[in-house]
């Protein structure tokens, strides 16, 4: 889980295509751990266009969450940056009666975790 072999990824020559397809173990472990925490309902990783690239929920729910949260994040980011263009949105948390949705935002992806904290 050192991630030491990442350097080979950075220079994609045809021969190294194989390495592109394997994930970093550390990231996988962390994602699994998050999913295994008590009360976590689902984890979704969404790319910059709102297309989910990794999920632990079923397809329809994933698509719904991804689309809606993507729009909301855009709006929230626009709000933050309108006030100060050098600022940027980093984390968004929505607490509802039943769940808490936590979105970690970045320019290139969204990391969404839905948790039921009462359990």
């Amino acid at each position: 889980f050192n991630g030491g072999w990442q350097t080979s990824l950075r220079s994609p020559v045809l021969g190294d295509m194989v390495t592109l397809f394997t994930f970093c173990a550390e990231v996988e472990d962390t994602l699994k751990r998050i999913q295994g925490i008590n009360g976590v309902i689902g984890t979704i990783v969404v790319n910059a266009e709102g297309i989910p690239i990794k999920t632990t929920l079923d397809n329809s729910t994933t698509v719904q969450y991804a689309g809606l949260l993507h729009q909301l994040t855009m709006k929230a980011r626009s709000t933050v940056r309108d006030i100060d263009p050098q600022n940027d949105l980093t984390f968004l948390r929505i607490r509802s009666k039943k769940h808490e949705i936590m979105v970690s935002t970045d320019k290139e992806y969204l990391l969404i975790v839905i948790q039921n904290p009462a359990e």
Binding site: V13, T30, Q86, E108, L111, Q115
Partner: protein, 792 residues
């Protein structure tokens, strides 16, 4: 108005006869037909007259001639005078050009007023030219008296001219008068010279005298012309003919075009959008520089960026190609781009998941999610008010247990908060724990078997309070970890002592498995397990290279050594723990053979860093000095078994505690060779003790199967809090938290449990006096006992 009046004027000032088409000057256009519907405002009609004049140039003889006159009821000519006289000097050059170019001359005429205005306003010659003009026209009028049509025009002209003349004359006279008054007596020399002849106006004559040679020719020509005019009537040569154009049949032609698709396009310009485009303009130029340096890391990034721009299909690959080419700008990179393009989905996904940012975000997210669960516990740990989750519905069972505890809330107890445990640590024995000096949330735990048997590779985990389910750093070691300490100067350095005697220093900022430095190359390295490590700061009173922080270790081979990080780890022996029994009892033994008692613990005095205590396996505690490594300052003998821990009291400078496997804990004062107090509770080995950093009279002890908290104000016979651990599990390490009132207990199953001390009446002060009181009373009672004994 002035424009039109000019025109009117010009038309009026016609110089030649109407019969000849030789219009001498374009200005003096023959205006034969003026519509009958004339009104006093001549201006309007002048336009039409102007246009008509063009037509009429061609058919002069036919059209009737109208005049522009206005007569009132008395028959007086009240035609308004033209307001403006064009400058004849300007008109002169136009004479030759008139005939072919009517339009141009017409346009030039329009220029005249402006020009003439200027000239008349500016130049003093204006009036003169006018007068000249007037005289010329006057002469002309005399010439052209024959033509009837002209007369009326002349009538118009005359009053105007006369008025202008009179104006001029008036001006002239004025000037003359002035001159006479001023220069009456003076003799003025006037020089008369003849200037060049300046032609101001040259209008060739349209009439020829009878005597000239051409007269005959002219007459003939005139006659021919009149004949021609007469013959026009009824002559076959001149026939009126009309023409009609054919109108073709109309034909409808339809054309249909593709429907124009309308697309609504909206753009929202936001503050950040403008800021971004401004910044990106600067960045693009930077990127070309960066990629030109051959930084390959940017290549997949730019591919992902361009991929994001054009998500659909390989057919867009060309445009992707072009966008990346602008960014990267080197051909070698472009080749690599073409390789990456066919696999469009994968790089995007991969790059996101491998990016460092993603890892960080994941870590944060993990902590956030856990914080939701552990928030009440962490709040209790940090002594913050615990907020009840408003949506959290407490179940029946939990309520009951809660009320039970609240009932017993008067007596002090240990409240279990949480436990640091994970799969990695299962089954391992916690051997040592230490807090990070800089970050109070960071805890380093060493896992290693303390026994000789079943040794396995050790583990060091750095836990963060914010994530009790998985350690932030994991370091695997070759043998069991027996000692740990964080450096105070470089808070990221963690020194680890191992069962095989190696000392390694790790940098906890990275996740690298290899330590910064290792003592395995050192010739003097310990041969036995390193039982305790400490970074000691020798600021006080030492000169030279001894200043600064040093790593000091005690090991089972009986040496206390100081380690210096020079080129490798070098060590210098501070003390050799000679076994005093040998020396005292067996004097016949050869003193050259030194046997050393294995050292198990040591502690430097909190105030005076030269003095330290060392505990040995034989049960002796030696007080030593840093600068004197031959002999001990003092030896305290009371324990009958190995002394596992010795600690100075952080509040009372003379007091220290020691614990041993002979089931006892002793409280000493450094000037007394006998312990002041002894604490036993049951026949269990005491593994670890620690003074509470908050209260001078409180300390904790870890026995086989129990955790005890002693408060000397309450009782010195029994521990105040006793917390039994689950059967089969032995607590092996104890650590107080420096800031809050919690205590950590590590056990032989790999768990580190966090307990909160509840209802321990700590009070505000550190109770130093209380401790001293206790000691004093104990001593005095001992003394009295001793006395009574003697007495008795």
């Amino acid at each position: 108005m002035s424009n039109t009046t000019v025109k009117q004027k010009r038309t009026a000032l016609k110089v030649k006869s109407s019969k000849t088409l030789n219009v001498s000057s374009g200005v003096f256009r023959v205006n034969q037909s003026i519509t009958k519907t004339i009104n006093p405002s001549i201006s309007g009609k002048s336009f039409s007259s102007a246009s008509d004049s063009k037509v009429l140039d061609k058919s002069l003889a036919q059209t009737p001639k109208h005049t522009v006159q206005v007569f009132d009821e008395h028959g007086q000519d009240v035609t308004p005078h033209p307001l403006y006289n064009p400058d004849p000097g300007v008109l002169q050059p136009k004479q030759g050009k008139i005939f072919p170019a009517h339009d141009t001359s017409w346009t030039t005429m329009t220029d005249f007023p402006s020009v003439a205005f200027q000239t008349t306003n500016a130049s003093f010659t204006g009036p003169f030219t006018k007068s000249f003009f007037g005289s010329v026209s006057a002469s002309r009028t005399s010439q052209t008296t024959e033509s009837v049509t002209d007369e009326t025009k002349e009538l118009l002209v005359k009053p105007d001219l006369s008025s202008s003349l009179s104006d001029v004359q008036a001006r002239r006279e004025e000037v003359k008068e002035q001159v006479r008054e001023d220069i009456m007596d003076r003799v003025v020399d006037s020089y008369l010279t003849e200037t060049e002849t300046i032609w101001l106006l040259d209008i060739p004559a349209v009439s020829v005298s009878e005597d000239s040679g051409d007269a005959e020719a002219v007459k003939e020509r005139n006659n021919a012309y009149t004949e021609l005019c007469k013959n026009r009537h009824g002559n076959d040569k001149y026939v009126e003919r009309s023409m009609q154009t054919f109108n073709d049949a109309p034909k409808t032609k339809e054309v249909q075009s593709d429907s124009i698709t309308m697309v609504d396009k909206a753009v929202m310009s936001t503050t950040w959008d403008m800021y971004d485009s401004f910044c990106n303009k600067a960045d693009v130029s930077e990127n070309t520089v960066v990629s030109a340096e051959g930084n390959k890391a940017t290549v997949p990034d730019s591919s992902s960026m361009s991929h994001l721009l054009n998500p659909s299909g390989l057919d867009q690959s060309m445009s992707v190609f072009s966008t990346t080419s602008t960014v990267s700008g080197s051909s070698a990179h472009l080749e690599k781009m073409t390789c990456v393009l066919p696999v469009e989905e994968e790089p995007d996904l991969e790059l996101i998941l491998q990016s460092d940012k993603f890892k960080k975000d994941l870590a944060v997210m993990e902590r956030v999610v856990l914080a939701n669960i552990f928030q009440p516990k962490l709040a209790a740990y940090r002594q913050l008010p615990v907020i009840e989750d408003p949506d959290y519905v407490q179940t029946q069972i939990e309520e009951e247990s809660w009320t039970e505890q609240s009932k017993n809330s008067l007596s002090p107890f240990l409240e279990h908060l949480w436990a640091f445990k994970c799969e990695l640590t299962k089954g391992r024995n916690v051997s040592s724990m230490t807090w990070n000096k800089k970050n109070p949330d960071l805890l380093a735990v060493g896992y290693g078997q303390l026994d000789f048997k079943d040794q396995k590779p050790g583990l060091v985990c750095c836990w963060s309070l914010k994530n009790p389910t998985w350690p932030d750093r994991i370091f695997h070691c070759e043998s069991g970890v027996t000692a740990l300490d964080f450096s105070a100067c470089n808070a990221n350095q963690l020194s680890v002592g191992l069962y095989d005697g190696t000392i390694a220093i790790y940098n906890v900022q990275t996740t690298e498995q290899t330590p910064i430095i290792d003592s395995s190359d050192c010739a003097n390295m310990h041969a036995c397990p390193v039982w305790q490590l400490r970074w000691v700061d020798h600021d006080t009173g030492l000169a030279g290279e001894d200043k600064g922080e040093m790593l000091i270790s005690v090991s089972g081979d009986g040496r206390i050594s100081k380690w210096i990080h020079y080129k490798g780890l070098e060590c210098v022996d501070l003390m050799k723990l000679k076994s005093p029994n040998m020396i005292v009892n067996n004097q016949r033994w050869n003193p050259k053979i030194l046997s050393l008692a294995p050292g198990l613990c040591f502690d430097f005095h909190p105030n005076d860093s030269k003095i330290y205590l060392a505990g040995t396996e034989e049960g002796h505690i030696h007080k030593c000095s840093y600068s004197y490594n031959e002999q001990f300052l003092e030896t305290y003998k009371a324990h009958t078994g190995p002394v596992y821990k010795v600690t100075w009291s952080p509040f009372c400078p003379d007091v220290f505690l020691s614990c041993s496997s002979d089931w006892t804990i002793y409280l000493w004062r450094q000037d007394l060779s006998k312990p002041v107090l002894g604490f036993t509770s049951g026949q269990k080995v005491v593994f670890d003790i620690m003074w509470s950093p908050h209260c001078a009279t409180v300390f904790g002890a870890v026995r086989e199967g129990k955790v005890e908290i002693w408060d000397l104000r309450v009782s010195s016979l029994d521990p105040t809090i006793v917390s039994a651990s689950s059967p089969g599990v032995n607590p092996t390490a104890l650590l107080f938290t420096p800031e809050t009132d919690c205590v950590l207990v590590g056990d032989s199953e790999g768990q580190v449990t966090v307990y909160k001390l509840k209802n321990l009446s700590a009070g505000d002060s550190t109770q130093v006096e209380a401790l001293e009181d206790v000691i004093r009373t104990t001593l005095s009672s001992q003394h009295t006992l001793g006395k009574t004994d003697r007495d008795a």
